[in-house]
């Protein structure tokens, strides 16, 4: 009997200790779709600027301002519609900001459906704040690793307050923007899980850039993070090259200039292979890019015959050169301007050429800036489109 009682006690306590105790009805939750994090700067227009300024000097680092974009069904006159709500809160830590927010909300702020995190560029330029923010994102059990991250060219708050023409719900808009971004490839991968893993390695990463105007938002280019600190921006073409080198490109559309003609083409099935060679003291990295493409069009009744292999060959060679140039220039930017091995060539040496890596490991940062990179491109134009 005692044994049964004991077992029963264990059963009850184990259920009571481990069970989910966070029952909140789905309609009592406010679904936060996007989160913006900025460095807080009281503006002069605010009346209580003197009061607000009190916050500033007490700490070695400035407070942060968190902007939440939430979707919440609100019943208005019998009909229920999904409202788009933007709320901001200032806090000394992004961890406490949500708690402060709760005191101003009738509902639970629910991060389980968070789609995007937008960081202000000021914040990313401060390594302390950036690391704290990344820690907050990584530690929250509800935030998915599949959310998208971007650095706003400006402040996240302004970006998230834009009402776009196409979709009034900015949370939904930004989340679908990132899905489209995966296809357009003018910015690096925005996946928070990937960014966190890369950051864990050496503190260098590319985070997509979010550019906004009065009515529009777009994703393109990237913020270059070196040692948890933003060093600058790279443009869309460099981002594209980065995507090709890191084998993340799904498809992209570009133009090729050939003898006054502009030939639009689409690249598909691009694969990049990295090989490293060591000849004496000279280390060389060979990138071979192979892929396929389509010529999308030319112009009406062209003099050139698109069905003529020699013409296609000519275009093909031109495109190969274009891509080669694109990649070499992008690598140069990282070698000379930022001096960070964002393509993880070092990782390649560590994995596949451990003996070489042992010698170069210590001076890798310097070696990388002088590293000889050869790019070989082999792109085959499979389809030439409809002709005549």
């Amino acid at each position: 009997m005692n044994k049964k009682l004991f077992l029963l006690c264990i059963l009850i306590t184990s259920i009571a200790i481990t069970g989910c105790w966070d029952s909140i009805e789905i309609d009592d939750r406010t679904f936060i779709m996007a989160l913006g994090i900025d460095v807080y700067k009281p503006t002069e227009e605010e009346k209580n600027i003197e009061d607000e300024k009190k916050y500033l000097p007490q700490h070695t680092r400035p407070p942060v301002s968190l902007t939440y974009v939430a979707s919440k069904p609100i019943s208005a006159g019998g009909e229920v519609e999904i409202a788009n709500i933007t709320m901001s809160s200032v806090s000394h830590s992004s961890f406490t900001a949500k708690r402060q927010m709760i005191s101003r909300s009738d509902n639970e702020l629910f991060l389980g459906h968070l789609k995007a995190v937008v960081l202000g560029d000021e914040l990313v330029k401060n390594p302390m704040l950036f690391r704290e923010t990344m820690d907050r994102i990584e530690k929250d059990p509800l935030i998915s690793r599949r959310i998208s991250m971007a650095v706003a060219d400006g402040t996240a708050k302004e970006a998230l307050e834009i009402e776009t023409e196409l979709e009034k719900n900015i949370g939904k808009f930004i989340s679908s923007l990132f899905i489209r971004q995966e296809r357009s490839n003018r910015a690096p991968v925005a996946d928070a899980g990937d960014i966190l893993t890369t950051l864990h390695k050496n503190g260098n990463v590319l985070i997509p850039r979010l550019v906004y105007s009065d009515k529009e938002i777009k994703i393109g280019g990237a913020a270059v993070i070196k040692d948890y600190k933003m060093e600058g921006w790279i443009g869309e073409m460099e981002s594209l090259a980065y995507m090709i080198i890191t084998n993340n490109l799904m498809t992209t559309a570009l133009n090729h200039n050939m003898d006054d003609l502009i030939i639009p083409y689409t690249l598909t099935e691009i694969k990049t292979n990295i090989e490293a060679e060591k000849e004496g003291d000279n280390i060389k990295v060979v990138l071979s890019v192979i892929g396929e493409g389509d010529i999308d069009g030319l112009y009406f009744n062209p003099e050139e015959d698109v069905l003529d292999p020699s013409f296609v060959k000519k275009v093909q060679d031109g495109i190969c050169k274009d891509i080669q140039k694109l990649i070499i220039e992008a690598i140069k930017v990282f070698q000379k301007d930022y001096q960070i091995d964002i393509f993880q060539f070092g990782d390649y040496f560590r994995k596949y050429k451990p003996d070489v890596w042992r010698d170069i490991e210590k001076d890798w940062e310097e070696i990388f800036t002088e590293l000889e990179v050869v790019v070989e491109t082999d792109i085959f134009m499979r389809r030439v489109g409809l002709s005549r």
């Binding site: 069970g19 989910c20 029952s23 009805e25 789905i26 309609d27 679904f31 979707s71 229920v80 998915s144």
Partner: protein, 526 residues
């Protein structure tokens, strides 16, 4: 098993009743019977005098309404009163043996026996047989004359199939045994009849095919039936509950069927069928959860269709068990698990609903159970009306009044439909009962609670046995019985189903005749 033995095992064997032997004098016998059947006004005593000189007294006793009057008049009374005088040998010679003469030469009835105690005679009278008493003869002659108003063989109500035989068991024991015998023309089919119930003395039979049946299981069934100690057995349900392994379980461990084809299919698989008089439901033991989720039609339809339907049925079982609790768990605890658009849409529909999801689920589930129960009680045409009024009107009104969300109505409706897709009604009720447990588990601990409840249920099911057969067979079986998988979620094509399940006797696993088997191997060799 242990529990079953503890509660039933110590009652011991029934005491054999020592009956009173008939007296030589017919008056004494009639008096005794009249005393036993005092105040039974449906018993008819007809005293006649037989013999050439009408000097031998005889009497017939029967229960009015339970006998075939035509047979009694034309072949019993007519014969003992008239024909007996015309038949040689001469009356003088046989005066002493008039009883045996009557028995052997005069009574033109097909079934007759003699009993040596009054009590047996009384039981026969009450079973619808006629007792013939003859003066100076110390045995009772029982003439089989059963014949009463009974329902004819008709289509089974609970197990309707689109393709398959339309006949179903009826309340008359003999008709049911005939329905089985018609499908098994094999002398190995054994039909062991006995009477159970101290007062009701209900006829029942254990039916099996001698060489296919597993002797161990047969012995177990026979032993358990021997321990039945009840005054009356009114339906096979009594027997089911008295001999099952674990009566605390929500799952029935004995299958019942109204269809002779299902019963016979079970016999050919090596199972045992128990028929009980006055009940159109035959019992099949041992059984498995898998067998409960099968329908007779699965074997009559082509295998690919049958497999698809079976998959659907397993899905229905899972839905009917889990869907409302999943809804409760996800909406109350884990909205991050569903797509954002769906989460927002659920939140939109739940806007203004005053109850938490678990209360909502319980209200709707209770309502649908009420509707179902009311639908069973109400006479046919009104039952359908209640279904429409309850299902459509109340559901619609509840949504419009904002008491429940429309999605909850869909969830409850899908669950109800799924539970009707389970072929065995008694398993479906088990699932219905467990569903409430799952809703509570989900409401208190979310998906974690559902997983705990699932573990509990699985551990119970894994331990459950039906007459020594694992209830989850063949899902929890040994490698040598892996062939049984052919008749589970999938239904293998007919030609590949040569082997019986491991329920059957080990030597008779192959369905083919020995000769056929040899031929088959020869063909393969060639």
């Amino acid at each position: 098993m242990g529990l079953w033995k503890k509660l039933l095992g110590n009652k011991g064997e029934k005491k054999q009743e020592e009956g009173q032997a008939p007296h030589k004098s017919i008056e004494m016998n009639i008096k005794t019977i009249k005393e036993i059947l005092k105040d039974c006004d449906d018993i008819v005593y007809r005293e006649v005098e037989v013999g050439v000189e009408n000097n031998v007294k005889a009497a017939i006793i029967y229960t009015d309404g339970m006998i075939d009057r035509n047979l009694l008049n034309n072949y019993i009374l007519n014969n003992i009163m008239l024909t007996v005088r015309m038949t040689p040998p001469s009356p003088e010679d046989i005066k002493k043996q008039i009883a045996s003469h009557l028995k052997d030469h005069s009574l033109a009835v097909s079934e007759m026996k003699e009993v040596e105690t009054i009590d047996e005679g009384v039981t026969s009278i009450l079973s619808g047989d006629t007792v013939l008493l003859i003066d100076n003869y110390d045995k009772l002659i029982i003439v089989a004359s059963k014949g009463w108003q009974a329902r004819g063989v008709s289509e089974p109500v609970t197990e309707i199939v689109i393709r398959g035989p339309r006949d179903g068991f009826v309340e008359t024991f003999r008709v049911n045994t005939a329905l089985i015998r018609r499908r098994v023309r094999d002398p190995k089919l054994k039909l062991k009849a006995q009477q159970v119930g101290v007062r009701s003395k209900t006829d029942m039979a254990i039916i099996y095919i001698e060489d296919i049946v597993n002797k161990k299981i047969l012995k177990e069934v026979e032993e358990r039936i021997k321990t039945i100690d009840m005054d009356a057995i009114l339906d096979s349900g009594y027997i089911e509950q008295l001999i099952e392994d674990n009566w605390l379980s929500p799952f029935p461990q004995i299958q019942n069927t109204e269809r002779p084809d299902v019963a016979v299919a079970a016999l050919y698989e090596g199972r045992i069928v128990i028929l009980v008089d006055n009940s159109p439901f035959a019992l099949i033991a041992p059984t498995t959860l898998n067998a409960m989720l099968q329908s007779a039609e699965d074997y009559y339809e082509r295998w690919n269709i049958a497999t698809a339907v079976r998959l659907l049925r397993y899905l229905a079982a899972i839905i009917s068990l889990l869907l409302p609790s999943l809804y409760v768990a996800i909406t109350s605890f884990h909205p991050q698990m569903i797509p954002t658009k769906l989460a927002l849409s659920i939140a939109t529909t739940r806007q203004g609903v005053p109850f938490p999801a678990i209360v909502e689920a319980l209200i709707m589930e209770t309502t649908i159970e009420l509707l179902r129960e009311a639908g069973v009680r109400l006479p046919g045409p009104i039952g359908a009306t209640i279904g429409i009024v309850g299902g459509l009107v109340i559901g619609q009104a509840a949504v419009e009044a904002g008491i429940v969300s429309p999605l909850m109505v869909i969830v409850v409706a899908v669950t109800a439909i799924s539970s009707f897709a389970i072929p065995s009604y008694n398993v479906a009720i088990g699932f219905r009962l467990l569903r409430f447990g799952f809703i509570f588990a989900a409401g208190s601990f979310g998906l974690y609670g559902i997983s705990l409840a699932k573990l509990l249920l699985l551990s119970h099911l894994c331990g459950l046995k039906s007459f020594g057969m694992p209830y989850l067979h063949p899902f929890v079986t040994f490698v040598e019985d892996i062939g049984d998988i052919k008749d589970t979620v999938i239904r293998a094509p007919m030609p590949s189903m040569n082997n019986r399940e491991s329920i059957a006797n080990k030597n008779e696993r192959n369905r083919l005749d020995d000769k056929q088997e040899e031929e088959k191997y020869k063909e393969e060799e060639e």
